[in-house]
Amino acid sequence: MASVSELYDVTWEEMRDKLRKWREENYRNSEQIVDVGEELINEHASKLGDDIWIIYEQVMIAALDCSRDDLAWSCLQELKRQFPGSHRVKRLAGMRLEALERYEDATKLYDSILQDDPTNTAARKRRIAILKAQGKSAEAIRELNEYLEQFVGDQEAWHELSELYINEHDYGKAAFCLEELMMTNPHNHLYCEQYAEVKYTQGGMENLELSRRYFAQALKLNNRNMRALFGLCMSASHIAASPKVSAKVKKDNMKYAAWATAQINRAYQLAGRGTKESKCSVKAVEEMLESMQITMS
C-alpha cells in the first residue's frame, strides 16, 4: 500500500499542518485522519517534537471511529506514559471503553473524574453520549438539561439538545435551544435556517410567519443558502394558500413566493449551464414550481 506522502506527494510538514487544520476546524473525516496520522506517528515521530501528543489524541479518536482498536490502544499507551493521572487522558480511556461497548466501566471512569474535579465538562458530556448511544433518549435529555443548567454557555450542548428534542418531536423545546444558539451567534445563517425549519414543522399561522421571516434572515446572512430559499418559497406559498388569511397578507405572501421562485429559477439556470443532467433538473424544478403556483391561485 502506497503511503500517503507518496500518493499525494506531500512532505511531513504539510501532513502535520493538514492535521492541525482538521483539528482546529473540527472535521470528522476519521479515515483520512487515521491514514495521515498513522504515517506521521510511525515515520516522523522524532521530528514532530511536542506536537506529537495532540496528534496522538486526534488519531486515537479517529481510530475509535474506524474500529482500529490496535492503533487506539497504542496511542493511549503513549499518552498514559507521558501524562499519568491526567483527566484528559482518562477521558480518552473512557472513550475507548465506550467504543468497546463496555458502558458501565466507562461510566464508572467518568464518575471518578467528576469526583475529582466537578467542573470537568468533558466527562459529563461523555456520560450523556453514553446514554444516547444506549438509546435512552429520555434520560439523556434529562441529564443534558441538568448539565445546561450549570453550564449555560455551552453551545455544543445546546445544539445536541435541540437534535434530541427534534428526534422526540418536541419542536417547541427544540426551538428554544435553537434560539439560544441564534442569540449567541447572530450571524450564523445555519442556525437561523434550522430554527425556521423547526418553526415550519410546528405549523400554525404564527409559526409559519416566523419561519418565513427567519428563512429570509438566513438568506440575508448568506445569499447562497438554497435550502433557505426553498424554505422561503414554501412557507410563503403555504401562508398564501391558507383560506383563513386576509387579502393583504395573501397578496404579500404571493409576492414573496413569486420572488423566491424567480430566484430559484435563476440559480438553476446559472448552475445548469453546460451539463446535460443539470438541464433535466432545471426542467424538474420549473415544473415543480409551476405546479405549486397552480395550487396556490
Partner: protein, 261 residues
C-alpha cells in the same frame, strides 16, 4: 529647540545598548520559565463557573435579543428578571471575603508574583544603574520637557543637556516594555514575561474573572436587563431581502476539489 547634535562613541552602541537589550530579553525568558515552574493550578469552583456563564448569557441577551422573536425574548427576560421568581432576584450567593493577609493561597500567589517580576527588575535596574552610569546612552526621537531630566538622566549632571538624551537605566526600562512583542513571537501568546499585561490585569482584574461579590454583579445585571427593550431586527427583513436579486457569486461556476491535499 533642538540642541546641538552630540556624537556618541560607537563603542557605547556596542558595549552598552546591545548588551542591555540582550540582558533584558534573556532575563524575561528566564522569568517566563521560572513562573511556569512555580505555577500552581487555580482551583475553580463549580458555582463560580456557572455564575459567570449566567452573567455572560444575560449580557448576550441584552445585546442580541433583538434577533429573537418577541415572545422568546420576553420569556428569557422574565426568567432572569422577574421580581418574585427571577434568577437574579432569588439567587443569593454566600460571599466569602477573601482577605489577602489571612487567605494563604492568595498570599503565596502574591509572593510568587512579586518574586518573579518585581525582584529581577529592581536588581537588574540597580546593577545597570551602577555599571553603566555617568554617560549618555541614547537619544529618544521625540522632544521631552525638562521635568524628565532628573528621572531619565541619572548620574549625568549637565544642566544644559537636552532631556531627550537619556541614560542607560531609562534604556533598560524602555526595553522591558518594548520587548513585549518579541516575547509573544518567541514564547507564544500568554507568556509570563509580559509585565505590562500583568499590570493591566491587576487594574482590570475584577472585570474579567468572577468578581468576589456575585450578588453585586447580579444586581447590576438585573438593572441593565430591566431597561432593555425588544426591537425586533426582523421587522422588515423580507422587504430588505427582496430589494435586489440574490448574489450567487461564484457559487455555481467552479468545481470543488474533494481530495485530501
Amino acid at each position: 529647540m533642538a540642541g546641538p547634535e552630540l556624537l556618541l562613541d560607537s563603542s557605547i552602541r556596542m558595549w552598552v545598548v546591545v548588551p542591555i537589550v540582550f540582558i533584558t530579553f534573556f532575563v524575561g525568558v528566564v522569568r517566563h520559565y521560572v513562573t511556569q515552574l512555580l505555577h500552581s493550578d487555580k482551583k475553580v469552583e463549580l458555582e463560580q463557573v456557572s455564575d459567570s456563564q449566567v452573567l455572560l448569557r444575560s449580557r448576550i441577551l441584552r445585546e442580541n435579543g433583538k434577533y429573537l422573536p418577541r415572545q422568546s425574548f420576553a420569556m428569557r427576560k422574565h426568567y432572569l428578571n422577574n421580581v418574585e421568581t427571577g434568577f437574579f432576584k432569588t439567587v443569593k450567593r454566600k460571599v466569602v471575603a477573601k482577605n489577602p493577609v489571612t487567605d494563604t493561597s492568595m498570599l503565596t500567589d502574591m509572593m510568587k508574583g512579586n518574586l518573579t517580576n518585581v525582584l529581577p527588575m529592581i536588581v537588574i535596574g540597580g546593577w545597570i544603574n551602577w555599571a553603566f552610569s555617568g554617560f549618555v546612552t541614547t537619544k529618544v526621537p521625540f522632544p521631552l520637557t525638562l521635568r524628565f531630566k532628573p528621572m531619565l538622566q541619572r548620574g549625568i549632571e549637565l544642566l544644559s543637556l537636552d532631556a531627550s538624551w537619556v541614560s542607560s537605566a531609562s534604556w533598560y526600562f524602555l526595553n522591558v516594555f518594548g520587548l513585549r512583542s518579541m516575547y509573544t513571537l518567541i514564547l507564544g501568546q500568554d507568556n509570563a514575561a509580559d509585565q505590562s499585561r500583568i499590570m493591566q490585569d491587576q487594574m482590570t482584574g475584577a472585570a474579567m474573572a468572577m468578581p468576589p461579590d456575585p450578588n453585586k454583579a447580579f444586581k447590576s445585571e438585573w438593572e441593565a436587563l430591566e431597561i432593555v427593550e425588544h426591537k425586533w431586527a426582523l421587522e422588515n427583513v423580507e422587504e430588505e431581502l427582496m430589494s435586489r436579486d440574490l448574489n450567487f457569486g461564484g457559487f455555481f461556476t467552479r468545481e470543488f476539489k474533494s481530495t485530501m491535499f
